[in-house]
């Protein structure tokens, strides 16, 4: 598949999703009023700010996810050429995986994976 067809695929995706939203916006009956735009909270009038400070645990999980996401992406070109390069590539990815796993072990040891 050439690059042009990928671009056309992207545009078709955008048009399908965007077109669906636009058409439903045009066709659907609407009635707008101020009460509808209010934040819904169990039918009770809302109090205070919606900005709350998140737990740092979310950030730790997000960064762990990111790191193993990047690791997986390094494994894609490895998987493609594994057959050609053989043992050398296998040992290289093994060293890579061991080093990254040390990070996971460290985080585990420090209790970063616990949710309290």
């Amino acid at each position: 598949m050439s690059t042009e067809s990928l671009i056309v695929f992207f545009i078709a995706g955008v048009v399908m999703v965007g077109g669906g939203i636009i058409v439903s916006e045009l066709v659907a009956p609407t009635s707008k009023n101020a009460v509808k735009d209010e934040t819904y909270e169990c039918g009770i009038p809302t109090k205070g700010e919606s900005w709350v400070q998140f737990k740092v645990g979310y950030y730790l999980f997000a960064i762990l996810f990111l790191i193993f996401d990047v690791e997986t992406i390094f494994m894609v070109p490895w998987a493609v050429v594994m057959g050609e390069l053989g043992l050398v590539a296998f040992i290289e990815i093994l060293i890579f995986l061991i080093i990254v796993s040390l990070g996971l072990l460290y985080a585990w040891q420090k209790g970063a994976l616990k949710w309290d």
Partner: protein
């Protein structure tokens, strides 16, 4: 200049990229800025596709638009920006430095654009399509660039350790 599909796509993507970047830095709410940054990443990934770098383009969508933006949103929520007025700054040395650095960057970019349009770096290699694939990347990465590849794992390790150390107060 030829008026073909690639030119049209390039200019529409470039205009979108600049537009979303301007919207990103002028929005007041950090969440809105983050959403415009996603649009910017998307257009840049389109530009990568035009440069025949398919693997990089897909990674741009997966890692930047997916994982890194989630991280950005969590950081924004961690910061607890209740009052957006705090973000307003007076005319300080920091601002002067920022202006000077922007002028420097502008000069750098205009030099690049000038030499780009003077016909020196305009031609794309015939091998561009071949170079952009995961196969080519893999065969280079695991032979000629195996040492930088292993160093990347240390970078990832440092990122994990850094994040855990910074957040450690919570666990003690």
């Amino acid at each position: 200049m030829k008026f073909d599909l690639e030119t049209v796509l390039f200019f529409s993507l470039a205009v979108m990229a600049i537009g979303s970047a301007i919207m990103m830095i002028t929005r007041k709410s950090p969440i809105t800025s983050a959403l415009y940054l996603i649009l910017n990443f998307f257009t840049v990934s389109g530009l990568y596709l035009l440069l025949k770098a398919q693997f990089i383009a897909i990674i741009q969508v997966l890692v930047y638009m997916g994982a890194i933006m989630v991280l950005f949103l969590f950081v924004i929520m961690l910061l607890n920006l209740q009052d957006e007025k705090i973000l307003k700054e007076k005319f300080t040395y920091r601002k002067i430095t920022a202006v000077l650095l922007s002028i420097f960057l502008f000069c750098l970019l205009s030099f690049t654009i000038y030499f780009g349009f003077s016909g020196k770096f305009t031609a794309m290699s015939d091998k561009a399509v071949e170079i952009g694939t995961a196969e080519f990347l893999g065969s280079e990465l695991f032979t000629n660039f195996s040492f930088p590849f292993e160093l990347a794992s240390f970078l990832l390790l440092a990122a994990i350790v850094g994040a855990v150390v910074l957040a450690k107060k919570k666990f003690e």
